[in-house]
Amino acid sequence: MIKIHSLSKVFHEGTVNENKAINTINLSVKEGDFITIIGSNGAGKTTLFNLISGNIFPSTGRIEINGRDVTKDPEYRRAAYVGRIFQNPTMGTAETMTLEDNMTIAYYKGCKGLRKSLNNKLRDFFREKLSDLDMGLENRLKDNVGLFSGGQRQALTLLMMVLSKPDLILLDEHTAALDPGNARMILDLTLKYIKDYNLTTMMITHNMGHAIKYGNRLLMMDSGEIIYDIEGDTKKNITKEALINKFEVIRKKEFENDEVLLS
């Protein structure tokens, strides 16, 4: 479904600040996959998401979604089939607008016409979907989204994304900015939606436990490369310790390589 061919991204190419953020990544994602991604800061996880969503363009390599080469497609065009949730809960909604307006914008994803879509039928549909969130938002359709809490806004962002029926969803540590209770709630909601709508998912997380527990495939990234890729039973049975061990084994090897180079 998604094929990434020798994808690289170099920032500030040709200057002293040259930074290889993504180094020749090859990746193939199947429909219905739920991939968790771990890695230290600066490993290139978010850059990979930026490349897939089209926020930035690769230096070399190709990205295919559903057999279509989207490497040169701008972000807004890819958004029709790629949904993305950011760490910051304010990124997914317009706070100076009402809940119903926000949902209307999300419901008809893509090019907008001079049609007035928001009517009572659509409002009822929104209420029904919002009541699933169990947050009382179904009674606040006319309230500005800016009045809602971070957890409510992130839940709303999730719902709005699901309504637009994306082929792939990218979750970039989308619970990290929330308090533990809300983070738990958002994670449960995410898992529910992934199951209900059979969403192909890529999720960045700093929580190794979550990375092991959820999904059918796990990627470990470091210095712009995918250094470890497991799925199925291997992934299910791996422990935190084994992962850390693996990480250190691979990193040590690199470390020694550096030593050799420097000496």
Partner: protein
């Protein structure tokens, strides 16, 4: 006097609606306004003198204003120029274009030309005062524009336009090209401004290439004065607030013009007053925000 203020407030209110779209809805401070206002005025004047129907004139003026806004949006989109500079560029270029439209003159009188205002006065045939006739016409025109604008902001594209100024990333995430939206928004804004300029030329009885100086500042002042009146998140009330702000602003300017001489003020000082009005508005709204913040902080302690 009061009719004059109302008519002027409504004529300039169309321009303030445009300024409101860019400054408040799109968060795109657009200075093209200083050029598109006289653009509307001079184009209208030339077309009326050539004997065109005022309605055709307004269509042309609307299109010209939209084109001016499109140029600004394109400079900003394609060349990644900051929106302020893009607006200044178009505004400066428009100055020359406006003089060209007037055939290398700086102004043109419309004293003996048929305008919408002479037409409406004739229509009422002396049954009402001239001022009242103008007022009735302007109320009707502005009401139509306001309602159309409200409807537009309830359509899908209008809603998305509203989201753009607040959260551009969200608009992109929802699969809409923000560059196209900016063209629509800035274009529409300048189209309204040009139409306002078209009315102003007919009302004042002349068109002058310099009549746009400081227009955007007076528009912003009107928007800010309106914001003191009431708070709302409904577009119909927001546009109403803009129009009331415009009328209030004209009222204040009237006071400045007619009673200002007691404190040795001349009409030349009005631009200074406008600027000071904006600064006062900013200070007041800033303190208001601080007050609400303080109240929020205090509230939990009270609960204890």
């Amino acid at each position: 006097m009061i009719e004059g203020i109302l008519v002027e407030g409504l004529i300039y209110g169309i321009m303030v609606l445009g300024v409101f779209i860019t400054f408040r809805v799109l968060d795109f401070p657009d200075l093209t306004v200083d050029g598109s206002f006289p653009l509307g005025a001079v184009l209208m004047a030339v077309m009326l003198i050539r004997g065109f129907n005022p309605l055709v004139g307004f269509l042309a003026v609307f299109a010209a204003g939209f084109a001016a806004g499109t140029v600004t949006a394109l400079i900003h989109n394609k060349l990644k120029v900051p929106n302020l500079l893009a607006g200044i560029l178009t505004m400066t270029m428009l100055y020359s274009i406006n003089i060209r439209i007037l055939q290398n003159r700086a102004n043109v009188p419309l004293i003996r030309t048929e305008t919408v205002f002479t037409w409406i006065t004739k229509l009422f045939g002396g049954t009402v005062f001239e001022g009242t006739a103008l007022l009735i016409l302007m109320i009707a025109v502005v009401l139509i524009i306001k309602v159309l604008l409200d409807l537009f902001f309830h359509t899908d594209v209008g809603l998305t336009l509203g989201a753009l100024g607040c959260n551009e990333q969200m608009v992109i995430t929802q699969g809409v090209n923000p560059e196209v939206l900016k063209i629509v928004g800035v274009g529409l804004s300048n189209a309204l401004v040009a139409v306002s300029g078209g009315f102003a030329a007919q009302y004042l009885g002349f068109a002058d290439v310099n009549m746009g100086i400081g227009i955007v500042v007076s528009g912003l002042a009107s928007v800010m004065i309106g914001e003191f009146l009431f708070r709302s998140n409904r577009i119909a009330l927001l546009t109403l607030r803009v129009l009331l702000g415009s009328i209030l602003f004209k009222g204040i300017m009237y006071l400045g013009r007619y009673y200002g001489y007691y404190i040795k003020m001349t009409p030349n000082d009005l631009k200074l007053i406008t600027g000071i009005l904006i600064i006062i508005s900013l200070i007041v709204s800033k303190n208001k925000k601080m007050l609400t913040l303080l109240k929020k902080k205090e509230a939990p302690e009270v609960l204890k």
